[in-house]
Symmetry: none
Subunit: 454 residues, 2 copies
């Protein structure tokens, strides 16, 4: 037992430090991953952040071990029972398969960085990152060759690439260009679903029919049009559902596309050897958990372990894993969706100075109130989020009788929540409001009331 899997003890400690940004991503092909990993580890080691990551890793390891124990405890009877459940469920899911729609996922290439390069063409060809010494939002492909990645702190990125140019984040620019891309998307699907500033899902079934074009042709045309309107390149994926389209858009990034035909065999072949981590919704923790507890690394292995998955996960999780194994995804028309929460947060250098913390909270309350007023929102649940000096995250919430939106009300209740945690040394505070069912949009009277103040 102790003989196998003895890596980690043998003098390469960096191999066990995993971060979001030490992962495969488009543009990382020729990178010396070992070297990047080592530098990231050296720069992180000993920091409060690192220590917290270690605690988290230990917690996850524990969780995996618990799951292994549970698996070991399953009787043969259990196993055959859950296998039946799984098989039945697979049939039900299979029955929902819809190969009648053609979905396209489009994702801009190195979006913020590309926009900044348009604004300042002298950046062209040079390794560049958008963000600060503390945090990078994205990097262009030149920088990615050095291992520089979104979500990597700038000071580590600079170590990987000393000539790296830093450009501060400027949201106004990105929303402007985002709007331009969306004008293009509109032409192919008036009901397209924006997933973020730089990506969208389009149901191009009608577009293909109307223009008598294949999905691939539509994708070419759309990408060309986006480039003409914005000067920016993007990548596209075409497939029978949104989940697959998204996977496809990443395959030939940057400035490429990939089409998965609406054919069950093609889908199953595509899926079979696909690493589960490529699927949207499966992140670092789920990847490790499924690998270490079940030996699952590819999507087809989801199906091979379907009984165990049904035995150990909730209905909704098991359904998700099985549909991943089947290459299923949503094909339904996007519904109009209202936001469910609104928040803001700020990081500062850790302190237990209560006057300082209160002032931060007051600032957040004020900003939050302004944002709520801009959208005419009124909420009932207030959540205070705190990150301690040691990176531990806590949330504290209250649900009120009344719907509120003024900074005074927010501050009043948030203060109480904060007070209950004092004394405490913090590096971040967030204020968030939510829980408006429908009725909670600002009533006209209240709107008047605060308009009066302006």
């Amino acid at each position: 037992m102790a003989k196998s899997e003895s890596s980690g003890d043998t003098g390469r400690p960096w191999q066990s430090y995993h971060t979001v940004y030490t992962n495969a991503k488009a543009g990382m092909e020729g990178v010396d991953k070992e070297k990047v990993q080592r530098i990231v580890y050296e720069m992180s080691k000993g920091s409060k952040y690192f220590e917290n990551e270690e605690r988290k890793e230990a917690y996850i390891k524990q969780k995996i071990e618990n799951m292994q124990d549970q698996i070991a405890k399953l009787t043969d009877a259990d196993i055959s029972h859950y296998q039946k459940v799984a098989d039945k469920r697979i049939l039900e899911l299979e029955a929902t398969r819809d190969l009648t729609r053609i979905w396209l996922h489009v994702d801009m290439d190195a979006f913020y960085a590309a926009v900044e390069t348009l604004s300042n063409p002298s950046l062209n060809g040079k390794p560049m990152a958008v963000g600060s010494m503390s945090m990078i939002s994205t990097a262009n492909y030149e920088a990615r060759r050095f291992g520089v990645r979104a979500a990597m702190p700038g000071f580590i990125a600079r170590k990987l690439c000393p000539e790296l140019i830093f450009v501060p984040v400027d949201f106004k620019k990105y929303t402007h260009y985002s709007d331009l891309t969306r004008k293009v998307f509109q032409n192919y699907d008036p009901n397209f679903m924006a997933a973020s500033l730089d990506e969208a899902y389009l149901d191009i079934t009608n577009a293909c029919y109307e223009r008598d074009a294949t999905g691939g042709e539509i994708a070419e045309e759309l990408r060309k049009s986006v480039y003409e309107e914005t000067g920016l390149t993007c990548s596209a994926g075409v497939g029978p559902n949104r989940l697959l389209a998204k996977v496809c858009s990443d395959i030939n990034k940057p400035n490429g596309q990939f089409v998965l035909p609406n054919d069950r065999m093609a889908v199953m072949a595509f899926i079979s050897s696909l690493p589960i981590r490529k699927i949207g919704g499966i992140g670092k923790v789920t990847e490790h958990l499924l690998r270490d507890a079940f030996g699952i690394a590819t999507c087809e292995e989801m199906l091979q372990n379907s009984g165990f998955l049904c035995a150990l996960f909730s209905r909704s999780s098991a359904d998700f894993f099985l549909s991943v194994g089947l290459g299923l995804g949503r094909t339904d028309a996007p519904e109009v969706k209202l936001r469910k929460s609104i928040s803001n947060e700020r990081t500062f250098s850790a302190t237990d100075d209560e006057a300082f913390l209160y002032q931060k909270l007051a600032d957040l309350a004020e900003m939050l109130s302004v944002d709520m007023k801009k959208e005419g929102l009124c909420g009932r649940t207030l959540t205070l989020k705190l990150k301690t000096a040691s990176f531990e995250v806590r949330t504290r919430a209250v649900t009120l009788q009344k719907y509120i939106f003024s900074s005074e009300d927010i501050l009043k209740h948030a203060s109480k929540l904060l007070k209950a945690e004092l004394p405490i040394s913090l590096r971040l505070i967030a204020a968030s409001m939510g829980y408006w069912s429908v009725c909670s949009l600002l009533t006209d009277q209240i709107t008047e009331l605060w308009n009066f103040k302006f």
Copy 2:
């Protein structure tokens, strides 16, 4: 019964919340007391502090009712008995009246604030308070016009006066200026009695004789001299004893003086309509108690109720009340007085973290030990004072066989006292030492021992 005194139920709840700083004081003449009272109430309402104040008020009310019951139970025989006791005692006290000495009480005007204004003349004319958002030690007269007062928390003061400037406490400055004033006092009475950093009692009988001057003239001269030496103004009261002199010094504050002649008729006239609260030693509770239980509001009413006072109070309290009615006070030469205790205390945000509380106690023990060494003191009674999260105050004491002074000894015994209270959530800890009769000054050997450390 229910008809009279129905205030408090009728929508003005703030009228029943009394604090030390909602009281008459020099400089509060043009203040809208109702408004101040209301704001103080609004800012306090709902806090832990407020809730504790309510408990205390309820307790006092109970005490007053008990006293009323006792009064009601007095038989005619009791009454005439105690009246005789009182009359006799009044004669005895009257016999001690000494009109041969002239006492002067001098009290600096807005002392800390005035010193801070000397250090930073740009503060001149602006409302300013010395202290923090939690507690104000004093305020200048500009601030007092807004209702800002010593012992008022800063955050309430800011509500009363948004432009209020806060200056942190700086004791070194105040002792320096205090020393300067005392050099002046010395010239008028080499044995003057310092009552605090900013006030003193002087027996100016000799000074008047030597300079062939009246008390008023001496007071003028002294005040002028203090101003010349320090740049600070003060107020003075002159009278036949210390108690009266102190009352007088407040009458024409700031930068004023008042002389009460050494004449029995003048004293009785002065005393007659004087509110008892003006007398040093009669505070909020005694004022309410005497008013609500006996109907006593002025000093002369002390004499009119002398029988009841003797019936219901201890000998020493009754004597004090009667002498107040007679305008008597101490005229004897000040004896050298040794301090009887030495203590320090610290408030922090309430916690039940035992490691934290222990650390606080260790800090206090260390500070206390240092202070004791500075004065060469050694004590035998150690008192631990605790204030719970709900502002309840507790004290726990031990008297030891040995006299101690080292931080280790203090901590050792204080820890035991604290441990016995755990678990507990505290907002303040104090350590105090006392009980050295005479012998308790540091013996030479011990002195050597700790000198060795320096």
